[in-house]
């Protein structure tokens, strides 16, 4: 029996590896398919510049979605991220406009630290309202979504908040438009953020707790996990990711307005789900999330580069493509 079961175990291991891999690979397969379609639609599509453009501008959603992966894995939801971007970015620019620090380099560094702190605080607020206030996260973050957006509108008096100092602007610009060893900075940031997130989610105690809390609050509690703390920290991580996205967003246009980040929350959640994380919580797939964000951006890009679609129908076709991509994923996974 023991020999036998040893033999069994190895076959099994091989099989289940295949299983796991295929599910994780599915979003990447969908991505590959899209790239092929894109190349057929327009030869420019496959150019390095275009792909780099797409990857670069997917940065905001991708980074925010990495945070959302934590929140969703732990069984919650954050609808406020879009408005949080607007709010945090507005405060950052206002701080830089305030001119309290004369030296531009120092000012920029201080502004970045401030941004990270504010982002985390916003996340903390979301976390506390949901956990301590025991309000369904959908509603809690819908509420803070209104609050952050409202405060932004109020700060900007409905208009735009623009970075005034051109010195700061040119100092800060490379943070979005620059590149390191040929790799655009935003892509680099995506990779770093995702790698860290993957490490936290898969290789640390906290990450394991996130998964446990997301699959069963009760089991987590009976295993001595401080459920509310884990959930709150996930919200803080989300806030941090928003702050990082803001650090990239501000140098791009150097301004924010009341429309900044509108509907980004839906995009982030979509990226997470397309990437293979279940909305019910439990299992997070960080790399899948990045892939999901990239897929979303690609779909838009392909639409624009193709010549045969009426501009009125773009939304409809985008919707269909997302559904089809999910169906492709499903059928891939089912065959496994």
């Amino acid at each position: 029996m023991s020999i036998n079961s040893g033999g069994e175990a190895t076959t099994i291991r091989r099989r289940s590896w295949r299983d796991v891999d295929l599910r994780a690979v599915a979003p990447f397969a969908a991505l590959a398919l899209l790239i092929i379609i894109g190349a057929l639609v327009n030869p420019n599509f496959i150019s390095i510049t275009n792909l780099a453009n797409v990857a670069t501008r997917s940065a905001f959603i991708a980074i925010i979605a990495v945070g959302a992966t934590f929140v969703i894995s732990s069984g919650d939801l954050d609808l406020s991220v879009g408005s949080m971007v607007a709010f945090v970015a507005s405060l950052m620019i206002l701080f830089m406009n305030s001119g309290v620090i004369a030296d531009p380099g120092l000012m920029l560094a201080a502004a970045m630290v401030l941004t990270v702190v504010i982002g985390s605080l916003c996340g903390l607020a979301n976390g506390l309202i949901t956990t301590v206030g025991r309000i369904e996260p959908f509603i809690a973050t819908l509420g803070t979504m209104g609050i952050y957006r409202g405060l932004t509108t109020w700060l900007s008096q409905g208009g735009a908040i623009t970075l005034r100092s051109s010195e700061l602007q040119s100092l800060y610009r490379p943070a979005y438009f620059g590149s390191v060893l040929g790799l655009p900075v935003p892509i680099l940031v995506i990779l770093i953020v995702t790698a860290i997130a993957a490490f936290i989610l898969y290789r640390t105690r906290y990450g394991r707790h996130v998964t446990a809390v997301g699959s069963s609050r009760d089991v987590a509690r009976y295993s001595g996990i401080a459920v509310n703390r884990v959930r709150t920290i996930a919200f803080i991580i989300q806030g941090l990711c928003v702050a990082i996205a803001v650090l990239l967003y501000v140098p791009r246009l150097g301004s924010t307005s009341a429309t900044t980040g509108i509907l980004w929350e839906l995009q982030a959640i979509t990226a997470v789900v397309v990437g293979g994380t279940a909305l019910k919580g439990g299992a997070g797939r960080v790399w899948g999330t990045i892939c999901g964000a990239f897929i979303l951006e690609l779909v838009g890009n392909i639409m624009l580069l193709s010549n045969f679609i009426s501009e009125y129908l773009i939304g409809a076709i985008q919707g269909s493509i997302i559904i089809i991509a999910m169906l492709v994923q499903r059928s891939l996974t089912r065959k496994a």
């Binding site: 076959t11 394991r208 009760d218 295993s223 401080a226």
Partner: protein
């Protein structure tokens, strides 16, 4: 009831050379099984032997990989997902199958609601539910939400649900695992009544005395193989146990080891009250095995949860090694060597969607952190150790815990709790759903722990277990600690008397 004319009766439902594989893992190997009309057929075997799988196949919840089923002698393929109920074939699942948001009445009639002119006849269904529950001697409120019920009450609802249907064959997968003696008696009465009317039962259990008491025939499975089918009266418990395990079993309980009277008091509970539990005090010495007995719902679980900090206390204090333990802080207790194993393995014990290793180390991840990250090799090692130590048997190492056999889940849960390296261990229902062979292992394990200087509290509804294992037994009744028995007082009659409120110690 004798079954001398066995051959004369045609089986109602039978399986011929049924095999079952999940993926590449074979779980059943060409098993034959039949049920005669009006018989109670015991299905026994070790944990993971394939009992649940076999009854699921016979009731249409799984389909066999090969072999065939015969209903009234005709080959059938049973409809999936419980639709076989229409043919009078009913399964009481080993794990509960009740939706938490429904009421008792709603659960009982789920999928076959009674309507009048398209409108639910709620009054009729409630009355009917009440009637069936009364018949089973259950006091569960017919309007209570399932989520508010205790584990045992859920089981009674589950049984009521099966009995209320017009069944020809009822499969019961360990229905008594969470029931008290009284409830078990009532259940058996009902089963006998239905048998008299010609209903057949398949009864899966690990309680061999129940097999002897109730059943007409026994079928033994081992490692997915059919071993033997025989009339019960030709066997005894030991013989069955031997058939199951494939070797002779020595005595079930290890020798008791009384701690010295002047041994250090490691845990001291003073005047503890919660909402239901009132003013409980007791001490636990080093190396002691203390039993907690009592009827279901007597508040044993509640007090243990209050001690460990999983539930808030209203008053009272808990001292560990003489220093107070903070209320509502489970982790502090764990840090100070206190461990608690829940009785609700599905809802509170294990992450059913995860693998074994993730579950095993969940509570003790700190031990596997190296340079700030989790070391998979160290976790794998722990898993291998636990599998050996607790004899966890799975045929697929990466199986989701939710798909493991019930008994192996139980062992995994015990292993998980022991991973924290506790000195004071509270185990709520240690052997729920565990086969005799493993039970013996667990009992010896507990005794060994005590000998090594650990202290153990065993909360159990199985009286023999408490009696065989513990040097002192506390008896709870309606939230009060009504007796603390020692020595010769530890016997079934005395415990029962306290538990039923016929006697009470001045405290």
């Amino acid at each position: 009831m004798t079954r001398d004319g066995e051959e004369a009766l045609a089986p109602v439902l039978s399986a011929e050379r049924v095999s079952k594989s999940f993926g590449e893992v074979q779980v059943l190997f060409s098993v034959d099984f039949d049920m005669l009309p009006g018989e109670i057929h015991a299905l026994v075997g070790e944990n993971g032997a394939g009992k649940s799988t076999l009854v699921k196949i016979l009731s249409g919840f799984e389909s066999p990989t090969s072999g065939r089923l015969l209903l009234d002698g005709e080959p059938v393929s049973l409809p999936a997902n419980g639709a076989a109920e229409a043919l009078g074939i009913i399964l009481i699942h080993q794990e509960f199958n009740l939706a938490e948001h429904l009421t008792v009445t709603e659960s009982l009639f789920l999928g076959r609601e009674v309507t009048r002119f398209g409108v639910l006849d709620r009054r009729f269904m409630r009355a009917e539910t009440r009637r069936i529950l009364d018949m089973l001697g259950s006091h569960v409120d017919e309007d209570a939400l399932i989520s508010s019920l205790a584990v045992a009450d859920k089981q009674m609802v589950e049984i009521a649900k099966a009995i209320s249907r017009d069944a020809r064959v009822i499969f019961m997968d360990e229905p008594t695992a969470v029931l008290s003696r009284e409830e078990t008696e009532i259940l058996f009465d009902q089963v006998r009544k239905l048998r008299a009317k010609g209903t057949s039962f398949v009864f899966v259990t690990h309680k061999l005395n129940e097999v002897m008491e109730l059943t007409d025939r026994v079928t033994v499975l081992r490692d997915g193989q059919w071993i033997k089918t025989a009339p019960t009266r030709l066997l005894d418990s030991d013989a069955i146990a031997q058939l199951m395990v494939g070797r002779e079993l020595s005595s079930l309980y290890p020798a008791k080891h009384e701690p010295d009277v002047d041994e250090e008091i490691v845990l001291s509970v003073r005047g503890l009250s919660t909402g239901y539990v009132k003013d409980v005090s007791f001490d636990l010495r080093k190396g002691e095995v203390l039993g907690f007995s009592g009827l279901i719902g007597s508040g044993r679980t509640e007090i243990m949860e209050a001690i460990t900090g999983l539930r808030s206390r209203l008053s009272g204090e808990v001292l560990v090694h003489g220093t107070p333990l903070a209320a509502d802080d489970f982790m502090e207790g764990v840090r100070r060597g206190l461990a608690y194993m829940t009785k609700d393995r599905k809802g509170r014990g294990l992450l059913l969607e995860e693998g074994m290793t993730a579950n095993l180390t969940l509570q003790s991840l700190g031990r596997h952190v190296r340079y700030g990250y989790l070391d998979p090799a160290s976790e794998r090692e722990a898993m291998a150790r636990a599998k050996r130590r607790f004899d966890i048997r799975v045929r697929d190492d990466r199986v989701r815990v939710g798909r493991m056999s019930g008994g192996n889940q139980q062992k995994l849960m015990l292993a998980k709790v022991m991973e924290t390296g506790p000195k004071i261990i509270i185990i709520d229902e240690p052997t729920r759903g565990i086969d005799v062979g493993t039970k013996q292992q667990i009992y010896h394990f507990i005794a060994a722990l005590a000998r090594e200087g650990c202290s153990v509290i065993v909360v159990s509804s199985e009286m023999p277990e408490v009696i065989g294992l513990c040097t002192r037994v506390a008896v709870m009744r309606e939230g009060h600690l009504v007796g603390m028995l020692e020595g010769d007082d530890i016997n079934e009659q005395t415990i029962m008397r306290y538990a039923a409120g016929l006697r009470r110690q001045a405290s």
